[in-house]
């Protein structure tokens, strides 16, 4: 699904030919776009890197943009109902991410899924601990949170507040749109 989302992002931004050129360069095709398959991270990173070059973005910025895009991709596609079910506001959605990932893990054995824990919740501010066996995906997570702020009609900012071992603490500051 992630690869299909990257493809859709490149489609939306640069058109089909750009994606076909990317496929050609990486030597990939429909076999690398199968839903339900767990692909090697190296392949996903290679696709993102190639996409970033074509979008004229640094890899970090591309990951951030892709995080934002993933939220839009999920809410308008076949994952819409599960996105709606997970939470009706930003705080509850993030609190329930681990429960959502439980279902994802059951549906895709072998998938390496992160964990999110809300360690502090005050009006307009969330502190969320992110744990993952993967490294280097912080810009993607920043983009996800930014996309979620937008999804719930809020405005705000997200940044890394702390970093220790395999735990990264994100700070979300936001104002509800209403």
């Amino acid at each position: 699904m992630i690869h299909r989302a990257v493809r859709q992002m490149v489609f939306d931004e640069l058109g089909e030919d750009a994606w076909l050129a990317l496929e050609h360069k990486l030597g990939i095709g429909p076999n690398e776009l199968l839903t339900g398959m767990v692909y090697d991270d190296a392949l996903t990173i290679a696709i993102i890197s190639e996409a970033s070059a074509r979008l004229n973005l640094s890899v970090d910025v591309c990951l951030f943009e892709f995080g934002r895009y993933w939220i839009k991709y999920a809410e308008r596609g076949s994952l819409a109902s599960i996105m709606n079910f997970t939470g009706q506001d930003l705080a509850s959605f993030i609190e329930n991410l681990d429960r959502l990932h439980l279902a994802v893990g059951a549906a895709m054995p072998g998938a390496v899924l992160p964990s999110f824990t809300t360690v502090s919740k005050t009006p307009g501010r969330l502190m969320v601990e992110y744990r993952s066996d993967r490294t280097g995906l912080e810009p993607f997570v920043l983009g996800l949170f930014d996309g979620l702020i937008t999804r719930f009609g809020a405005t705000g900012d997200v940044k890394i507040a702390d970093r220790k071992a395999n735990v990264i603490v994100f700070e979300l500051q936001y104002q509800d749109g209403s």
Partner: protein, 520 residues
């Protein structure tokens, strides 16, 4: 134990719980119920807010020690709860949860927070929803793959067609070069210098022909040369090889009774058929047995429909392959020719299917006779090339008892390449045939109205009328006419009819002359 939980603990385990006293008055409300039914208050009677489905309210508290299954629907109809009532001396706890459906997930009436963290129903419902989403994406992927394959097949087909037409044009040029090199050899072959030059041209044309063969492979051209072939001779020539196909441990008899009778077929095509049949027979006898291959001339109704749509009596060359193997049941027999069907674990299911395709293409037929435990006999019938000559004594290729006298064998020659037409006409005339050369189908149609011909020799791919259209028309208006088609490329639209001979361009002059001689 549930009864001892604090309201906070209950709220996190069962967000839709309700605590009641023995008068049905609400003592505590779970956060999810409070969220969905904002008018509910502590102190209200539960029955004023909910209908208890299939529950006798009068006797509800009669057994305060037990647990009762329970289902509630709010009066406004928006909240459905189910679970159990757990009683104590002061009342009960309604340990209930929302009824979760995909619809309530889709329309946003329920959220994860409405369910306890350990609620297994939530995980399974989310899993179903997630799998449905993955299935939708997989279907989209499958459609994309199908389109991709369609595009590739279409590209390959277009490439093949282009290769076919390129091959055709190139073959035509090679054919002209080769025929005219042969002319040079015939006319000036006594001059060593000219003879050498003509040989060089012939050999170079032959090398060019190898290139066109590659193009033809790309265009999937598989039409073999179709010649009148003496079936018994074909079997005799391959006798040793056929014996090796049967292998040891099986007694193999060959009984050839078709004499010199010929059928217009592809040599390799028939050989492949016989090999397939022998392999099938061998595999039906893993522990050995008897096998026979026989030929004879048989009479029966033609399987090929005539123009009137009726069958007509005709003579056939019958080829039989019989084995003493395990035989086949009726069920197996009915599916034996089905493509990709095989009763053998490693069978491809292509052998008998390809035999049937070959028989039909050649205007013949094939069928099986079999009984479980009594072996199988395959009957392959192929039409006689010249039914009137069936009872003749052996003769050589090109000889016939009804051969017209030299100088009276009329050939209608159709070829749109003027240099090839000229070379072919000269070559045939040099052999004593009377040739009417035509540069187009339209000219040929006109010529057919003027006189009777023994043979139509025509190119296939031409502007205007194609060779197959001319042949059909010629066979209609002159049923005794023989037909030889020649081409470097046979388009799919040009279906060759049984009995028509075919020679691939660029052809060797001697091969063509032999074919012509055998036809007339």
């Amino acid at each position: 134990m549930l009864l001892k939980f604090t309201e906070q603990q209950l709220a996190s385990l069962l967000p839709a719980y309700l605590r009641l006293d023995s008068s049905f008055c609400i003592k505590a409300i779970g956060p999810s119920v409070a969220e969905h039914l904002p008018n509910i208050r502590v102190g209200m009677r539960c029955t004023d807010v909910f209908d208890f489905i299939h529950t006798d309210i009068e006797q509800f508290f009669d057994n305060p020690q037990g647990v009762k299954p329970i289902r509630l629907v709010s009066h406004c109809g928006s909240t459905h709860l189910f679970g159990a009532a757990v009683f104590d001396k002061t009342g009960c706890i309604l340990a209930v949860r929302h009824v979760l459906s995909e619809e309530s997930m889709n329309n946003g009436t329920l959220y994860l927070n409405d369910f306890g963290y350990a609620d297994p129903v939530v995980l399974s419902t989310m899993l179903i929803s997630l799998q449905r989403a993955m299935l939708e994406e997989s279907q989209a992927t499958a459609i994309e793959l199908a389109h991709e394959r369609e595009r590739s097949a279409s590209l390959l087909e277009r490439t093949g067609r282009v290769a076919g037409y390129m091959g055709h044009d190139f073959n035509n040029l090679l054919s002209i070069i080769r025929l005219n090199a042969d002319r040079l050899l015939r006319k000036f072959g006594h001059d060593e210098k000219i003879s050498n030059l003509a040989q060089i041209i012939r050999e170079t044309a032959a090398r060019g022909s190898n290139i066109t063969q590659s193009l033809m492979k790309l265009s999937q051209q598989q039409t073999d040369t179709l010649l009148p072939i003496i079936i018994d001779d074909l079997i005799r020539e391959n006798d040793t090889f056929l014996n090796s196909v049967v292998g040891s441990g099986i007694s193999f008899d060959i009984d050839l009774q078709a004499g010199t009778c010929e059928s217009v077929i592809s040599y390799n095509g028939l050989l492949n058929c016989i090999i397939n049949l022998l392999i099938n027979a061998r595999e039906a006898m893993p522990h050995g047995g008897r096998m026979s291959l026989s030929t004879s001339v048989a009479h029966g109704l033609a399987t090929r429909k005539s123009d009137s749509g009726e069958t007509e009596p005709s003579a056939y060359i019958a080829i039989c392959v019989a084995d003493s193997g395990s035989g086949m049941s009726e069920a197996l027999l009915s599916r034996a020719f089905e493509p990709l069907f095989s009763s053998k674990p490693k069978g491809t299911g292509l052998g008998l299917a390809s035999v049937r395709d070959f028989a039909k293409e050649m205007g013949g037929d094939v069928w099986l006779e079999s009984q479980v435990g009594a072996g199988t006999t395959v009957h392959l019938h192929l039409p006689l090339a010249n039914p009137s000559a069936e009872v003749q004594t052996p003769h050589k290729l090109g000889q016939s008892t009804v051969t017209p006298a030299i100088g009276t064998r009329h050939i209608l020659l159709v070829e749109d390449e003027p240099y090839a037409l000229e070379a072919l006409a000269e070559m045939l005339e040099a052999e004593g045939y009377v040739v009417t050369p035509c540069a187009s189908g339209e000219q040929a149609m006109h010529a057919l109205e003027q006189q009777t011909y023994h043979l139509l020799l025509t190119d296939i791919v031409m502007p205007g009328k194609t060779g197959t259209e001319i042949a059909k028309q010629a066979n209609r208006c002159q049923p005794s006419i023989k037909t030889i088609l020649m081409s470097g490329y046979v388009p799919d639209s040009a279906s060759l009819e049984p009995g028509w001979m075919f020679i691939r361009k660029p052809m060797d002059s001697d091969d063509l002359l032999r074919l012509v001689a055998s036809a007339v």
